[in-house]
């Protein structure tokens, strides 16, 4: 273990960033290439957990906690349940990629080219998003998020919050109606 880790933060940050980025990209590749849906689901879980760690690096601990609870602990459990309820062994022996796979990859490559063009032309010479050095107060993040959601002076996301809860209600009713045997 490097004893100078506390004194040289940029190196440690880069190490963790590249490690987590590698985990995420490899997990993503495994999600889209595995025959077995359970393997894809497990790869997606590792991607989501690595993403939560990246949120912690971005000084967003509340979003990281929400990601672990909702995404990795809720949505992926839902996915695994459904994978087990439908018989997936027959599906893993069929053809995995559809007939238009080449067009799909060409389209994705075109989009990738566009994104690379955007990111490299504007960062020629000067960096695209120049950050001023500032201190991020991680120990008050939840309180700041709460202030944003509920405090009239800083932000007024109360309306979106209520709409989101209405959306969840609609989703619950929709999922129950869709999955019931007899309405």
């Amino acid at each position: 273990m490097n004893p100078n880790l506390a004194a040289n933060p940029p190196v440690a940050t880069a190490f963790f960033f590249y490690g987590l980025a590698a985990v995420m990209v490899i997990g993503g590749i495994m999600v889209i290439t595995r025959k077995n849906a359970v393997h894809s689901a497990l790869a997606l879980i590792t991607t989501l957990l690595a993403q939560a760690a990246l949120y912690l690096m971005l000084y967003a601990p509340f979003v990281a906690g929400v990601q672990i609870i909702l995404y990795a602990g809720g949505i992926m459990v839902l996915f695994l349940f459904v994978i087990m309820l439908i018989s997936i062994e027959r599906a893993s022996k069929e053809r995995q990629f559809n007939k238009l796979w080449l067009i799909g990859i060409v389209a994705a490559a075109a989009l990738g080219g566009l994104l690379i063009a955007v990111y490299t032309t504007t960062s020629k010479g000067r960096t695209m998003f120049v950050e001023r050095p500032t201190s991020y107060v991680e120990s008050q993040n939840t309180q700041a998020v709460a202030a944003f959601l509920f405090d009239r002076s800083t932000g007024m996301y109360m309306f979106s919050f209520e709409i989101a809860s209405l959306l969840l209600l609609v989703a619950i009713i929709g999922a129950v109606v869709m999955a019931k045997k007899r309405i």
């Binding site: 506390a6 497990l42 509340f62 809720g74 459990v77």
Partner: protein
Amino acid sequence: MHDLVQYIQSYLDSNQTPGAAGNIFWAVVYVLLVFVGLSIAVIAMNWLERKILAHMQVRLGPMRVGPHGLLQPIADALKLLLKEDIIPEEADKVVFWIAPFIVVLAAFTVFVVVPFGPTHAITDMNIGILFMLGVSSLAVLGIVTAGWASNSHYPLIGALRSSAQMVSYEVAMGLAVVSAIMMTSLNESNTGTLSMIGIVQAQLAQREWFLFKFFPLGIVAFGIFAIAMVAETNRAPFDLPEAESELTAGFHTEYSGFRWSLFFLAEYSAMIAVSSIAVTLWLGGWLRPFPNALSGPTWDLAFSLIPGLTFLFLAGMCFYSTVRMPKHPLFRIQTMGLAGFGALLAAIGLVLFIPAVRVRVSDIFWFSAKVAGFMYLYIWYRGTFPRYRFDQLMKVGWKVLLPTGLALLIVTAIWGMRSAVWADVVVPMWLGFVDLLRRIF
């Protein structure tokens, strides 16, 4: 050498957890200490569970392996390590291999934020309780994959039932936790906190455990959490998915030897973890009992002597059993072993009387004593209650605990927090709503 002592002493006088201070060496030391302590706790739980269940059922429990069965957990661990590792033929080998690790990972990572004292935690995250609830919900994933990877009926049904049960009771747990978190915001700035150390410090500042706050509300929240946590860890009376007479051990049927011991380790660690949540949120964490009624320097001194007295009492019980051991030459080694164990406990007790040690260890002792009380409650439930049928279990989770939790949350928010709620929250929210209407229409 002197530098080393100075280094250790300068660290012990700090007022931050090593994670918050960015001190990686001490954070790793704490991680190792927590890991070792947890392993010892799980081993002790194994022995205690068998002995206490046995005594509740008017029998003796393991008596053969060591004096009074004290070496039984070690024998069990040896057996599990040396057992043949059987993998079902059609099982998915990679997933079969990964599943116990996911459960152990989820059960052990939780202890990163558990506060044994104001600075005795590995780190103090701003989202402490959220992190604990989230990571303990990752155990469901391990159970589901374990049941599926075994490629057999009983594990699959056991896994689906177990994970459905855990997910259902997580909702009730979350609501009870939110009711407790609301009580942390009864300070001047009306800001609460999610950090575990902050929650106990809020109880210290308000000089009242949250169990007794707003009289029936704290106890009802604690009751909901206490029931939900037993169901969350798949323990009796909610252990249908892993009961041997029902489903031949449920999701871990096909696991043998070391892999099964990983599940076992994860289950007991999860029990200790959710008990730590309950202790931190409602029972005042590391605070000593009766902070108001029995306060003052003499009572503080009396309470700080209790750790040493506890260990001396345990040593006394060991010596008493030594005296009552059969006086036969074949029992000589066992008698000496038991006397040695008693001497060890007595030595620990005497060390805990030294004031320098006393003042640092008392936080950890009170926290561990309260968690130990919860472990006894777990064993007591197992020995007393009959098992719930699965549909009764789900009915209790969704139709009893969830509405009670919601009602409790609403009543705590409106009536319990009425002193903090009105001027600082309700009025601005009403004004903001009126403003929003004005802007829209």
